[in-house]
């Protein structure tokens, strides 16, 4: 009995061992099969060899996709050109009519401490009196900016601007010392207005380099700092040292004479004003430089006074 049991047990273990071996064999058999499958699908995945593009090209042409692509490309090119142009525009140098106003203000900003214009000043309503004088002379649509300064470095001046806008600098100590009326102040500003309109100041400070620089474009080039600095110095030179010529003063005085002659009261005020300035420059050391900048009140009076006739 025992033998029978043993033999059946041996038979069972043998069977299970054979079954396990078969399983291992099956697994080994599958691996090469997978390899062969992989090698078979590989050429199918390499699409380049299989897709015929020439036939698709015809299809794209028929669909108008090529035209669409061209349109998109030109749109992109135009957009890029526009952007490039906009980038280029940022390097524009302002043209003359914009440049001078900005440049005069830049000079005022850079010389704020010398001119002492940042102070609390009373409201004189000078601009109203001056505007009424301009309107009386038939000068319309002119914007004026008056800056009162608390120094005698610049007594009075009109800075270079365009023809629509004028910037005036006027010394408050000068007004107070002379005890000037609004009409007298207006006449001084009017004289400056005529000088600016004739472009004397602008002619002194401009140069060929600056003229060619204005309205140009400096893309790809460095900003010309020296040109700007040199011309700011020229401003200072005209207003603080050199001033205007006798010829220019003569032209301005004779124009004032002809414009004011219609209003005799005004003409007389102008003559009295010149007398006052002449006295001041001869007696007050603080204003001795005035004759150097605006030569000369005495001569101006002589040019104004009617000449005695021979008969």
């Amino acid at each position: 009995m025992k033998k029978l049991v043993y033999s059946t047990l041996v038979a069972l273990t043998l069977q299970s061992a054979i079954a396990a071996d078969k399983k291992i064999e099956h697994k080994d058999d599958h691996a090469p099969e997978a390899k062969t499958e992989a090698t078979a699908t590989a050429p199918a995945g390499d699409g380049k060899d299989l897709i015929d593009f020439s036939s698709i090209k015809d299809l794209i042409k028929k669909d108008g996709l090529e035209g669409e692509l061209q349109k998109k490309q030109t749109e992109k090119r135009v957009l890029l050109d526009k952007k490039k142009l906009q980038d280029m525009k940022r390097f524009n140098v302002p043209p003359a009519d914009v440049f001078w106003n900005m440049f005069s203000e830049l000079w005022l900003v850079k010389n704020a401490t010398l001119l002492k214009w940042d102070f609390h000043k009373p409201e004189f309503d000078i601009e109203k009196a001056f505007i009424s004088l301009l309107e009386a002379q038939g000068i319309y649509e002119k914007k004026i900016k008056i800056l009162l300064v608390d120094s005698t470095e610049v007594i009075h001046a009109a800075l270079p601007t365009n023809d629509k806008e004028y910037i005036f600098v006027l010394s408050l100590p000068f007004i107070r010392t002379m005890d000037l009326s609004k009409v007298e102040i207006s006449l001084i500003l009017f004289e400056d207005f005529l000088r600016a309109r004739k472009g004397y100041f602008k002619n002194y400070v401009t140069s060929k380099e600056l003229e060619s620089y204005m309205g140009s474009n400096f893309a790809g080039k460095p900003f010309d700092k020296k040109l700007i600095a040199d011309h700011l110095k020229k401003y200072s030179n005209v207003l603080l040292v050199k001033g205007f010529s006798f010829q220019e003063q003569f032209e301005v005085t004779t124009e004032m004479d002809s414009l004011l002659k219609n209003d005799l009261k005004m003409w007389n005020t102008y003559l009295t004003l010149l007398e006052k300035i002449d006295n001041l420059t001869k007696t007050n050391a603080l204003y001795k430089k005035y004759n150097q900048i605006y030569p000369s009140p005495e001569l101006q009076m002589n040019w104004l006074k009617p000449k005695p006739t021979r008969f």
């Binding site: 940022r90 005022l108 940042d118 609390h120 004189f124 601009e127 319309y140 008056i146």
Partner: protein, 152 residues
């Protein structure tokens, strides 16, 4: 005697009333309601927002061209509306965290052509320092301006 006492009491009561009732103007000025009117743009190169409607009052902040500002109006409790201040040439505005005043002439309804935007690289090339920008803003406070008009 009773008449005198009565009249005395009457005068005293009037005085008391006068002392306890604040003037109408003071009451209205304390309770102003601010409402937004419009958004405007600063039209000068640089400028200042002031604490009061005066060019010499304290500067709260400095703004540059095309900076948007909220223009406000004030309404008092008695329904009066205030939009212009000083000599009618200042607006009450909100700029960032500040409520201050800007000259009305320096505000436009639409965006402006600004120098620093139009000629940005040229403006950068000037290499203006903070001091210069401050003075440029002050310049527009200090100018007295006007324009001659066509005679009609």
């Amino acid at each position: 005697m009773s008449k005198i006492i009565l009249s005395m009491m009457l005068i005293f009561s009037f005085n008391l009333f006068a002392q306890t009732t604040p003037p109408a103007t003071a009451a209205s000025s304390t309770a102003m309601k601010k409402t937004l009117v419009s958004v405007k743009y600063f039209n000068q190169m640089m400028g200042n927002v002031h604490q009061n409607a005066s060019r010499f009052s304290t500067v709260m902040t400095t703004i540059s061209c095309n900076h948007p500002v909220k223009v406000l109006k004030e309404t008092s409790t008695d329904g009066k509306e205030f939009m212009f201040y000083g000599e009618n040439d200042w607006n009450l505005v909100t700029v960032g965290p500040y409520d201050g005043y800007i000259m009305s002439a320096y505000l436009s309804d639409k965006k402006n052509e600004c120098f620093e935007e139009e000629y940005s690289k040229f403006f950068d090339g000037l290499e203006l320092e903070i001091n210069d920008l401050y003075y440029w803003a002050r310049l527009y406070d200090q100018y007295t301006q006007g324009k001659s008009k066509v005679n009609r």
